[in-house]
Symmetry: C2
Protein backbone atom coordinates (compact mmCIF):
# COMPACT_ATOMS: atom_id res chain seq x y z
CA UNK A 1 0.00 0.00 0.00
CA UNK A 2 1.23 3.46 -0.93
CA UNK A 3 0.53 5.07 2.39
CA UNK A 4 2.33 2.33 4.20
CA UNK A 5 5.30 2.62 1.85
CA UNK A 6 5.61 6.34 2.39
CA UNK A 7 5.26 5.87 6.07
CA UNK A 8 7.95 3.23 6.14
CA UNK A 9 10.36 5.44 4.25
CA UNK A 10 9.53 8.41 6.37
CA UNK A 11 10.26 6.54 9.51
CA UNK A 12 13.38 4.99 7.97
CA UNK A 13 15.79 6.65 10.34
CA UNK A 14 13.55 5.83 13.23
CA UNK A 15 13.04 2.29 12.13
CA UNK A 16 16.75 1.60 12.57
CA UNK A 17 16.25 1.74 16.29
CA UNK A 18 15.14 -1.89 16.54
CA UNK A 19 18.28 -2.93 14.72
CA UNK A 20 20.45 -0.88 17.05
CA UNK A 21 18.78 -2.61 19.95
CA UNK A 22 19.23 -6.04 18.43
CA UNK A 23 22.91 -5.49 17.84
CA UNK A 24 23.61 -4.07 21.25
CA UNK A 25 21.63 -6.78 22.96
CA UNK A 26 23.32 -9.48 20.92
CA UNK A 27 26.73 -8.16 21.92
CA UNK A 28 25.86 -8.14 25.61
CA UNK A 29 23.84 -11.34 25.80
CA UNK A 30 26.35 -13.41 23.84
CA UNK A 31 29.23 -12.14 25.93
CA UNK A 32 27.64 -12.28 29.38
CA UNK A 33 24.60 -14.53 29.26
CA UNK A 34 20.91 -14.03 29.86
CA UNK A 35 20.93 -13.61 33.60
CA UNK A 36 23.93 -11.31 33.79
CA UNK A 37 22.59 -8.67 31.42
CA UNK A 38 20.01 -6.14 32.59
CA UNK A 39 17.64 -4.28 30.33
CA UNK A 40 19.14 -1.03 31.59
CA UNK A 41 22.49 -2.25 30.31
CA UNK A 42 20.98 -3.05 26.92
CA UNK A 43 19.43 0.41 26.73
CA UNK A 44 22.74 2.04 27.64
CA UNK A 45 24.70 -0.06 25.15
CA UNK A 46 22.19 0.66 22.38
CA UNK A 47 22.09 4.37 23.13
CA UNK A 48 18.34 4.13 23.48
CA UNK A 49 15.80 4.57 26.23
CA UNK A 50 14.35 1.58 27.97
CA UNK A 51 10.86 2.58 26.88
CA UNK A 52 11.94 2.28 23.26
CA UNK A 53 13.09 -1.26 23.81
CA UNK A 54 9.75 -2.22 25.27
CA UNK A 55 8.02 -0.54 22.34
CA UNK A 56 9.68 -3.07 20.02
CA UNK A 57 10.05 -6.20 22.13
CA UNK A 58 7.57 -7.73 24.48
CA UNK A 59 9.99 -8.63 27.23
CA UNK A 60 13.52 -9.65 28.06
CA UNK A 61 12.97 -13.31 27.24
CA UNK A 62 11.61 -12.58 23.79
CA UNK A 63 14.46 -10.24 22.98
CA UNK A 64 17.00 -12.82 24.07
CA UNK A 65 15.44 -15.78 22.27
CA UNK A 66 14.99 -13.69 19.13
CA UNK A 67 18.64 -12.74 19.03
CA UNK A 68 20.10 -16.12 19.74
CA UNK A 69 17.91 -17.74 17.12
CA UNK A 70 18.98 -15.09 14.62
CA UNK A 71 22.60 -15.79 15.47
CA UNK A 72 22.06 -19.51 15.00
CA UNK A 73 20.65 -18.96 11.53
CA UNK A 74 23.07 -16.28 10.43
CA UNK A 75 26.43 -17.67 11.31
CA UNK A 76 26.17 -20.91 9.49
CA UNK A 77 28.93 -21.00 6.91
CA UNK A 78 28.90 -21.69 3.22
CA UNK A 79 28.90 -25.35 2.34
CA UNK A 80 28.28 -25.00 -1.39
CA UNK A 81 31.29 -27.20 -1.98
CA UNK A 82 29.15 -30.13 -0.86
CA UNK A 83 26.43 -29.44 -3.42
CA UNK A 84 28.55 -30.06 -6.51
CA UNK A 85 29.57 -33.44 -7.83
CA UNK A 86 32.37 -35.03 -5.84
CA UNK A 87 35.74 -34.15 -7.28
CA UNK A 88 38.90 -34.65 -5.29
CA UNK A 89 37.71 -36.15 -2.02
CA UNK A 90 40.62 -35.12 0.14
CA UNK A 91 40.34 -31.57 -1.09
CA UNK A 92 36.62 -31.42 -0.37
CA UNK A 93 36.95 -32.90 3.12
CA UNK A 94 39.77 -30.50 3.95
CA UNK A 95 37.76 -27.54 2.70
CA UNK A 96 34.55 -28.29 4.55
CA UNK A 97 36.56 -29.38 7.55
CA UNK A 98 38.44 -26.11 7.78
CA UNK A 99 35.28 -24.04 7.51
CA UNK A 100 33.49 -26.02 10.20
CA UNK A 101 36.44 -26.38 12.55
CA UNK A 102 37.21 -22.68 12.39
CA UNK A 103 33.62 -21.79 13.11
CA UNK A 104 33.66 -24.08 16.13
CA UNK A 105 36.48 -22.18 17.79
CA UNK A 106 35.59 -18.68 16.58
CA UNK A 107 34.46 -16.22 19.26
CA UNK A 108 30.97 -15.94 17.77
CA UNK A 109 30.69 -19.69 17.40
CA UNK A 110 31.78 -20.34 20.95
CA UNK A 111 29.52 -17.65 22.40
CA UNK A 112 26.50 -18.91 20.51
CA UNK A 113 27.16 -22.50 21.54
CA UNK A 114 27.54 -21.40 25.13
CA UNK A 115 24.23 -19.55 25.15
CA UNK A 116 22.33 -22.38 23.52
CA UNK A 117 23.72 -25.01 25.85
CA UNK A 118 23.31 -22.87 28.95
CA UNK A 119 19.78 -21.66 28.30
CA UNK A 120 18.19 -24.50 26.40
CA UNK A 121 16.54 -25.87 29.55
CA UNK A 122 14.66 -22.58 29.88
CA UNK A 123 14.45 -21.82 26.13
CA UNK A 124 13.94 -25.18 24.39
CA UNK A 125 13.39 -23.40 21.06
CA UNK A 126 17.04 -22.42 21.05
CA UNK A 127 18.20 -26.01 21.02
CA UNK A 128 16.00 -26.77 18.04
CA UNK A 129 17.03 -23.67 16.10
CA UNK A 130 20.69 -24.35 16.72
CA UNK A 131 20.71 -28.04 15.99
CA UNK A 132 18.47 -27.98 12.94
CA UNK A 133 20.13 -24.94 11.40
CA UNK A 134 23.65 -26.11 12.18
CA UNK A 135 24.99 -29.54 13.00
CA UNK A 136 22.08 -31.39 11.46
CA UNK A 137 22.19 -29.38 8.26
CA UNK A 138 25.86 -29.91 7.62
CA UNK A 139 25.62 -33.56 8.61
CA UNK A 140 22.86 -34.18 6.07
CA UNK A 141 24.73 -32.36 3.32
CA UNK A 142 27.93 -34.21 4.01
CA UNK A 143 26.17 -37.56 4.23
CA UNK A 144 24.54 -36.96 0.84
CA UNK A 145 27.87 -35.93 -0.61
CA UNK A 146 29.60 -39.01 0.74
CA UNK A 147 26.82 -41.24 -0.59
CA UNK A 148 27.33 -39.80 -4.07
CA UNK A 149 31.06 -40.34 -3.78
CA UNK A 150 30.43 -43.91 -2.77
CA UNK A 151 28.16 -44.41 -5.78
CA UNK A 152 31.09 -43.32 -7.89
CA UNK A 153 33.23 -45.97 -6.28
CA UNK A 154 35.42 -43.50 -4.46
CA UNK A 155 34.50 -44.69 -1.00
CA UNK A 156 33.42 -47.85 0.76
CA UNK A 157 31.12 -46.75 3.55
CA UNK A 158 28.84 -48.82 5.65
CA UNK A 159 26.46 -46.03 6.61
CA UNK A 160 27.01 -42.61 4.97
CA UNK A 161 25.24 -40.81 7.77
CA UNK A 162 27.36 -42.45 10.46
CA UNK A 163 30.48 -41.71 8.44
CA UNK A 164 29.51 -38.04 8.14
CA UNK A 165 28.87 -37.90 11.88
CA UNK A 166 32.24 -39.42 12.57
CA UNK A 167 34.10 -36.96 10.38
CA UNK A 168 32.30 -33.97 11.85
CA UNK A 169 32.72 -35.26 15.38
CA UNK A 170 36.47 -35.41 14.85
CA UNK A 171 36.33 -31.70 14.04
CA UNK A 172 34.56 -30.99 17.33
CA UNK A 173 37.89 -31.74 18.86
CA UNK A 174 39.71 -30.77 22.02
CA UNK A 175 40.32 -27.30 20.71
CA UNK A 176 36.58 -26.82 20.66
CA UNK A 177 36.38 -28.13 24.20
CA UNK A 178 39.20 -25.88 25.33
CA UNK A 179 37.59 -22.86 23.71
CA UNK A 180 34.24 -23.64 25.35
CA UNK A 181 35.81 -23.96 28.78
CA UNK A 182 37.78 -20.76 28.34
CA UNK A 183 41.14 -22.49 28.50
CA UNK A 184 42.26 -21.57 25.01
CA UNK A 185 40.04 -18.85 23.57
CA UNK A 186 41.90 -18.57 20.26
CA UNK A 187 43.65 -21.72 19.01
CA UNK A 188 46.28 -21.15 16.34
CA UNK A 189 44.96 -21.69 12.81
CA UNK A 190 47.87 -24.03 12.16
CA UNK A 191 46.67 -26.21 15.01
CA UNK A 192 43.19 -26.32 13.54
CA UNK A 193 44.61 -27.24 10.14
CA UNK A 194 46.51 -30.09 11.76
CA UNK A 195 43.37 -31.51 13.30
CA UNK A 196 41.43 -31.20 10.05
CA UNK A 197 44.22 -32.89 8.13
CA UNK A 198 44.32 -35.63 10.75
CA UNK A 199 40.60 -36.20 10.49
CA UNK A 200 40.75 -36.28 6.70
CA UNK A 201 43.66 -38.71 6.69
CA UNK A 202 41.97 -41.02 9.09
CA UNK A 203 38.65 -40.86 7.29
CA UNK A 204 40.20 -41.71 3.94
CA UNK A 205 42.32 -44.47 5.43
CA UNK A 206 39.22 -46.08 6.91
CA UNK A 207 36.77 -45.52 4.10
CA UNK A 208 38.79 -44.65 0.98
CA UNK A 209 39.71 -47.05 -1.75
Amino acid sequence: METAGKLDRAVGARAMKPQQIREAAARLFLAQGYGAVSMDAVAREAGVSKATIYAHFADKAELFADLVKEECARQWPDTAMLESEPGDLREALMAVGMVYAELLVSPKGVQTFRMVVAESPRFPELGRAFYDGGPRLIRDKLAAYLARAEAQGKLALGDPRLAAQQFLAMLRCEHHLRALTGLDPAPAPAEIARVVAGATDMFLRAYGR
Copy 2:
Protein backbone atom coordinates in the same frame (compact mmCIF):
# COMPACT_ATOMS: atom_id res chain seq x y z
CA MET B 1 17.35 -48.74 70.59
CA GLU B 2 15.16 -45.66 70.72
CA THR B 3 17.76 -43.70 72.65
CA ALA B 4 20.60 -44.79 70.40
CA GLY B 5 18.53 -43.89 67.38
CA LYS B 6 17.81 -40.44 68.74
CA LEU B 7 21.43 -39.90 69.63
CA ASP B 8 22.68 -41.00 66.25
CA ARG B 9 20.28 -38.77 64.49
CA ALA B 10 21.19 -35.85 66.68
CA VAL B 11 24.93 -36.27 66.29
CA GLY B 12 24.57 -36.98 62.62
CA ALA B 13 22.35 -33.98 62.09
CA ARG B 14 24.98 -31.60 63.36
CA ALA B 15 27.92 -33.01 61.51
CA MET B 16 25.91 -33.55 58.35
CA LYS B 17 24.75 -29.96 57.98
CA PRO B 18 27.49 -28.87 55.56
CA GLN B 19 26.94 -32.02 53.55
CA GLN B 20 23.20 -31.47 53.44
CA ILE B 21 23.84 -27.99 52.13
CA ARG B 22 26.28 -29.23 49.53
CA GLU B 23 23.89 -31.85 48.25
CA ALA B 24 20.91 -29.56 48.10
CA ALA B 25 22.90 -26.81 46.46
CA ALA B 26 24.38 -29.23 43.94
CA ARG B 27 20.93 -30.47 43.02
CA LEU B 28 19.61 -26.98 42.44
CA PHE B 29 22.65 -25.42 40.81
CA LEU B 30 23.21 -28.29 38.40
CA ALA B 31 19.58 -28.34 37.38
CA GLN B 32 18.93 -24.61 37.12
CA GLY B 33 22.22 -22.77 36.85
CA TYR B 34 24.01 -20.21 38.99
CA GLY B 35 21.84 -17.20 38.29
CA ALA B 36 18.51 -18.95 38.59
CA VAL B 37 19.07 -20.33 42.10
CA SER B 38 18.71 -18.10 45.15
CA MET B 39 20.30 -18.75 48.49
CA ASP B 40 16.83 -18.84 50.02
CA ALA B 41 16.01 -21.68 47.67
CA VAL B 42 19.15 -23.52 48.73
CA ALA B 43 18.26 -23.06 52.39
CA ARG B 44 14.74 -24.33 51.78
CA GLU B 45 15.95 -27.33 49.76
CA ALA B 46 18.54 -28.23 52.38
CA GLY B 47 16.07 -27.83 55.25
CA VAL B 48 18.46 -25.41 56.90
CA SER B 49 18.47 -21.73 57.76
CA LYS B 50 20.26 -19.24 55.58
CA ALA B 51 22.48 -18.22 58.47
CA THR B 52 23.78 -21.77 58.69
CA ILE B 53 24.79 -21.72 55.04
CA TYR B 54 26.77 -18.56 55.56
CA ALA B 55 28.39 -20.09 58.61
CA HIS B 56 29.93 -22.74 56.36
CA PHE B 57 30.43 -20.96 53.04
CA ALA B 58 31.73 -17.49 52.40
CA ASP B 59 29.26 -16.57 49.68
CA LYS B 60 27.17 -17.83 46.82
CA ALA B 61 30.03 -17.86 44.34
CA GLU B 62 32.24 -19.97 46.58
CA LEU B 63 29.48 -22.45 47.24
CA PHE B 64 28.77 -22.80 43.55
CA ALA B 65 32.37 -23.14 42.43
CA ASP B 66 33.05 -25.59 45.23
CA LEU B 67 30.23 -27.85 44.17
CA VAL B 68 30.87 -27.83 40.47
CA LYS B 69 34.55 -28.58 41.02
CA GLU B 70 33.61 -31.43 43.31
CA GLU B 71 31.24 -32.76 40.65
CA CYS B 72 33.97 -32.54 38.04
CA ALA B 73 36.32 -34.60 40.15
CA ARG B 74 33.77 -37.09 41.41
CA GLN B 75 31.98 -38.18 38.32
CA TRP B 76 34.94 -39.27 36.33
CA PRO B 77 34.50 -42.95 35.61
CA ASP B 78 36.78 -45.88 36.06
CA THR B 79 39.35 -46.30 33.32
CA ALA B 80 41.43 -49.01 34.96
CA MET B 81 41.08 -51.04 31.77
CA LEU B 82 43.57 -48.68 30.18
CA GLU B 83 46.22 -49.25 32.82
CA SER B 84 46.77 -52.91 32.11
CA GLU B 85 48.73 -54.33 29.21
CA PRO B 86 46.83 -54.17 25.93
CA GLY B 87 44.90 -57.37 25.33
CA ASP B 88 42.14 -57.49 22.78
CA LEU B 89 42.10 -54.02 21.26
CA ARG B 90 38.53 -54.02 20.01
CA GLU B 91 37.33 -55.14 23.38
CA ALA B 92 39.26 -52.43 25.20
CA LEU B 93 38.11 -49.67 22.87
CA MET B 94 34.52 -50.79 23.14
CA ALA B 95 34.74 -50.90 26.93
CA VAL B 96 36.29 -47.49 27.44
CA GLY B 97 34.09 -46.11 24.69
CA MET B 98 30.90 -47.27 26.34
CA VAL B 99 31.89 -45.84 29.70
CA TYR B 100 32.81 -42.47 28.25
CA ALA B 101 29.90 -42.21 25.80
CA GLU B 102 27.37 -43.09 28.46
CA LEU B 103 28.81 -40.52 30.83
CA LEU B 104 28.55 -37.89 28.10
CA VAL B 105 24.80 -38.30 27.76
CA SER B 106 23.99 -39.07 31.39
CA PRO B 107 21.95 -36.44 33.24
CA LYS B 108 24.79 -35.68 35.66
CA GLY B 109 27.32 -35.49 32.84
CA VAL B 110 25.17 -33.19 30.77
CA GLN B 111 24.34 -30.94 33.71
CA THR B 112 27.97 -30.63 34.73
CA PHE B 113 29.08 -29.90 31.20
CA ARG B 114 26.37 -27.27 30.91
CA MET B 115 27.44 -25.51 34.10
CA VAL B 116 31.11 -25.51 33.19
CA VAL B 117 30.54 -24.20 29.70
CA ALA B 118 27.98 -21.62 30.80
CA GLU B 119 29.90 -20.22 33.76
CA SER B 120 33.52 -20.62 32.79
CA PRO B 121 33.74 -16.97 31.65
CA ARG B 122 32.87 -15.92 35.20
CA PHE B 123 34.50 -18.91 36.94
CA PRO B 124 37.65 -19.76 34.95
CA GLU B 125 38.69 -22.30 37.58
CA LEU B 126 35.77 -24.49 36.54
CA GLY B 127 37.10 -24.87 33.03
CA ARG B 128 40.46 -26.00 34.37
CA ALA B 129 39.00 -28.41 36.89
CA PHE B 130 36.73 -29.96 34.30
CA TYR B 131 39.21 -30.26 31.49
CA ASP B 132 42.16 -31.46 33.53
CA GLY B 133 40.12 -33.91 35.57
CA GLY B 134 38.13 -35.20 32.62
CA PRO B 135 38.85 -35.04 28.91
CA ARG B 136 42.55 -34.47 29.34
CA LEU B 137 42.96 -37.30 31.80
CA ILE B 138 41.24 -39.88 29.68
CA ARG B 139 42.98 -38.66 26.54
CA ASP B 140 46.39 -39.08 28.16
CA LYS B 141 45.54 -42.52 29.45
CA LEU B 142 44.19 -43.66 26.12
CA ALA B 143 47.15 -42.20 24.24
CA ALA B 144 49.57 -44.08 26.48
CA TYR B 145 47.58 -47.27 26.03
CA LEU B 146 47.56 -46.90 22.26
CA ALA B 147 51.28 -46.21 22.23
CA ARG B 148 51.90 -49.45 24.12
CA ALA B 149 49.67 -51.31 21.70
CA GLU B 150 51.63 -49.85 18.83
CA ALA B 151 54.89 -50.96 20.40
CA GLN B 152 53.46 -54.47 20.39
CA GLY B 153 52.79 -54.15 16.69
CA LYS B 154 49.03 -54.13 17.09
CA LEU B 155 48.55 -50.67 15.63
CA ALA B 156 50.16 -48.35 13.11
CA LEU B 157 49.58 -44.85 14.43
CA GLY B 158 51.17 -41.66 13.31
CA ASP B 159 50.62 -39.75 16.53
CA PRO B 160 49.14 -41.69 19.48
CA ARG B 161 47.82 -38.52 21.07
CA LEU B 162 46.02 -37.42 17.93
CA ALA B 163 44.62 -40.90 17.48
CA ALA B 164 43.30 -40.88 21.04
CA GLN B 165 41.72 -37.49 20.46
CA GLN B 166 40.05 -38.73 17.31
CA PHE B 167 38.59 -41.78 18.98
CA LEU B 168 37.27 -39.80 21.92
CA ALA B 169 35.95 -37.05 19.68
CA MET B 170 33.89 -39.61 17.79
CA LEU B 171 32.27 -40.51 21.11
CA ARG B 172 31.34 -36.87 21.68
CA CYS B 173 28.83 -37.45 18.96
CA GLU B 174 25.52 -36.02 17.95
CA HIS B 175 23.79 -37.73 20.84
CA HIS B 176 25.94 -35.65 23.13
CA LEU B 177 25.01 -32.53 21.19
CA ARG B 178 21.34 -33.42 21.28
CA ALA B 179 21.47 -34.07 25.00
CA LEU B 180 23.22 -30.74 25.62
CA THR B 181 20.66 -28.82 23.62
CA GLY B 182 17.79 -30.58 25.34
CA LEU B 183 16.54 -32.22 22.16
CA ASP B 184 17.07 -35.78 23.30
CA PRO B 185 17.65 -35.90 27.05
CA ALA B 186 18.00 -39.67 27.24
CA PRO B 187 19.33 -41.45 24.15
CA ALA B 188 18.66 -45.18 24.01
CA PRO B 189 21.61 -47.27 25.24
CA ALA B 190 21.43 -49.27 22.02
CA GLU B 191 21.99 -46.09 20.05
CA ILE B 192 25.04 -45.28 22.15
CA ALA B 193 26.38 -48.77 21.63
CA ARG B 194 25.97 -48.34 17.90
CA VAL B 195 28.02 -45.16 17.92
CA VAL B 196 30.73 -46.73 20.04
CA ALA B 197 30.89 -49.77 17.78
CA GLY B 198 31.08 -47.47 14.76
CA ALA B 199 33.93 -45.47 16.27
CA THR B 200 35.79 -48.64 17.18
CA ASP B 201 35.33 -50.14 13.72
CA MET B 202 36.53 -47.03 12.01
CA PHE B 203 39.46 -46.60 14.35
CA LEU B 204 40.67 -50.15 13.80
CA ARG B 205 40.15 -49.94 10.05
CA ALA B 206 42.29 -46.81 9.91
CA TYR B 207 44.98 -47.76 12.39
CA GLY B 208 44.75 -51.49 12.96
CA ARG B 209 46.89 -54.07 11.27
